[in-house]
Symmetry: C2
Subunit: 360 residues, 2 copies
């Protein structure tokens, strides 16, 4: 029924990519970040020429999504480096910038992973300052380029799953905006859509910051993928009605045993999927797999500001005197996950073995 295989030439992937928004662009000298907080209403960009601007952008969620944060931080670590002084001073400035960037958000492992790659370049380097700057730039571009390829690989590996279950539910945004180009969880959806599969995607709005309603719906709309936005609390209802064939989400950190930290609400979806006998998939690049974390309960969960829930109009949505709890992520135990799709393939339980084999 569907085209048998994704074309080798990938020409049609290129065509589709033109429709997708670019969250990160590197000019050669500065970094352009799409301000995702303003979507879908406005498409505005931050032009970053200094490292602290990128740090601000990560902290304030101008750029978000685990892989995108890593890429932005890699470029950010080399912005504004003084290459006209001593090599030691330059390395020192670089290390300071990298440390600042790493502290911007605690949960996503890609941030520290990307910065570790950048630091490895600086640490072992012996030569001129301009040459170091050039090496760092190459490494950041390499991280960026690899990420694009990883997304395509993830999409290809997960494509047969989406073909089998074309009624998909997703949470938050693990798409083009969160990563680069095809995204992770959305990559097989884009590939399936382009190859003619009659898809439908249920988009959880994803409180408190509405990344599903604002970003995923925006991306899918751009690419012409049929979709419907629901509140997070409606997922159970559409599942009970038999309207969901599979769930696919991204990840911020995958522990060695397969426990997955992802946007708050993911755990609830995984429990619902199990109850309604719906397969539950996680899609992420290998850089999200953190084998040094043995279990999910070791993952630090970022708590964010009260105002993300209450809104900025004090007392309008929540009484001023009412306490609020705002964890940004939750941990889904491996037992609730059908498979984890990375660039290496569709990894199945037992995850301690499959993750170690693919990413050890």
């Amino acid at each position: 029924v569907y085209p048998a295989i994704v074309s080798d030439s990938d020409l049609w992937v290129e065509v589709m990519l033109d429709e997708l928004p670019r969250s990160i662009s590197w000019s050669g000298e500065n970094l352009k970040l799409l301000d995702q907080r303003l979507l879908p209403e406005k498409e505005e960009y931050w032009l970053c020429e200094r490292s602290d601007q990128v740090e601000d952008a990560i902290r304030q969620l101008v750029v978000r999504g685990a892989p995108a944060i890593g890429i932005a931080a890699a470029y950010g670590s080399l912005l504004g480096l003084n290459s006209s002084g001593s090599l030691d001073a330059m390395k020192c400035q670089f290390r300071e910038q990298a440390d600042q960037l790493e502290a911007a958000r605690p949960t996503a492992v890609n941030l520290s992973w990307a910065l570790a790659r950048m630091c490895a370049v600086a640490d072992g380097f012996d030569g001129s300052c301009p040459e170091l700057l050039q090496r760092l730039t190459s490494e950041a571009q390499q991280i960026h380029e690899e990420d694009k390829q990883l997304c395509l690989q993830i999409g290809r590996h997960a494509l047969p799953i989406v073909r089998q279950y074309p009624n998909v539910l997703t949470h938050c945004n693990a798409g083009s905006l969160a990563v680069s180009e095809l995204g992770t969880a959305l990559a097989p959806i884009y590939l399936a859509h382009e190859s003619g599969v009659p898809l439908h995607v249920w988009v959880d709005e994803t409180r408190p910051l509405f990344q599903g309603a604002r970003l995923t719906a925006f991306e899918l709309g751009r690419a012409g993928v049929p979709h419907t936005v629901i509140t997070d609390s409606m997922a159970a209802s559409v599942m009970a009605a038999g309207k969901v064939g599979m769930v696919i989400v991204g990840a911020d950190r995958v522990a060695a045993n397969g426990d997955v930290a992802n946007k708050i609400g993911t755990l609830g979806l995984a429990v619902l999927a199990q109850h309604f006998d719906i397969p539950f998939y996680v899609a992420c690049p290998g850089s999200t797999v953190d084998l040094s974390t043995s279990e999910g309960n070791q993952i630090q969960i970022e708590e964010r500001a009260r105002e993300e829930i209450t809104g900025s109009d004090a007392g309008q949505l929540v009484p001023i005197t009412s306490p609020v709890f705002n964890p940004a992520f939750d941990v889904t135990p491996a037992a609730l996950i059908t498979a984890i799709v990375t660039e290496q393939g569709v990894l199945k339980p037992p995850f301690n073995l499959s993750l170690e084999k693919a990413h050890g």
Copy 2:
């Protein structure tokens, strides 16, 4: 540890009631409805002198909560009746008003239950027009007064459960604002709090209309009950952390087999509660039990406007071109419910038997 029993004099209940907001007040001639859409920011009232104003108030959610809708509709059906013409004309006008009110919201059974009681008074009546008006007024006041007593009874029956599990999670608003005085799901919480139980209530914000964040948090704050607001998507996370001892919610309609229609998101909570081995209670007056509906799948689920999810600023939260699905309720199967608490007691499975016995 706690006071052994709720005082017979109920003096302390009276004291607490002074702290709770009144959603419905009858002056003898007109109806005052607290505009719940403006809470917690503003406390403003609608003064209704005609039936269609009450209908508007129900439709626009100025007044909401299944029992409160029933009470408001009972008063609404007699507002503006012309008692200076013929009895037949007055009955005809009454019937027309009752029909209009009944159509205002489809899911809550209390609306049609209350109007059926009013209609029974009019149908069998033979006498003067002023006397009919007086009889109808008495019936509406009776419905209102009974509701207050029912809430107290529900609270007393469920009090031992809250004492056993003082870490409570609730969804939407089944409190003073939804009913009269103590509310249904919140009634045992208020009684437990007044009798010194060290409670904590997790309040689901309840998208799309935020009845939890806006109304339940407001009520609990007024009464001094410790509570924390979370997004609906965080319930799984606090349950997984062992912070929830029980879930209690209200109901809009209970079918003969124990299936419960309630605010969208209830089904998901019930599935989560089962997964995490947390007891799940429903509290409602007998008027919510609809033995003529055999199963939950026969209950008509109201779909509401797109703007409830997207907000009024077009394109800000959801792209203008993205479809939205907005069911106001879901159906929780009886198998996920630990017990249904009504004024008759704590009803346990098999619900077809216990509901029939208590409310048949």
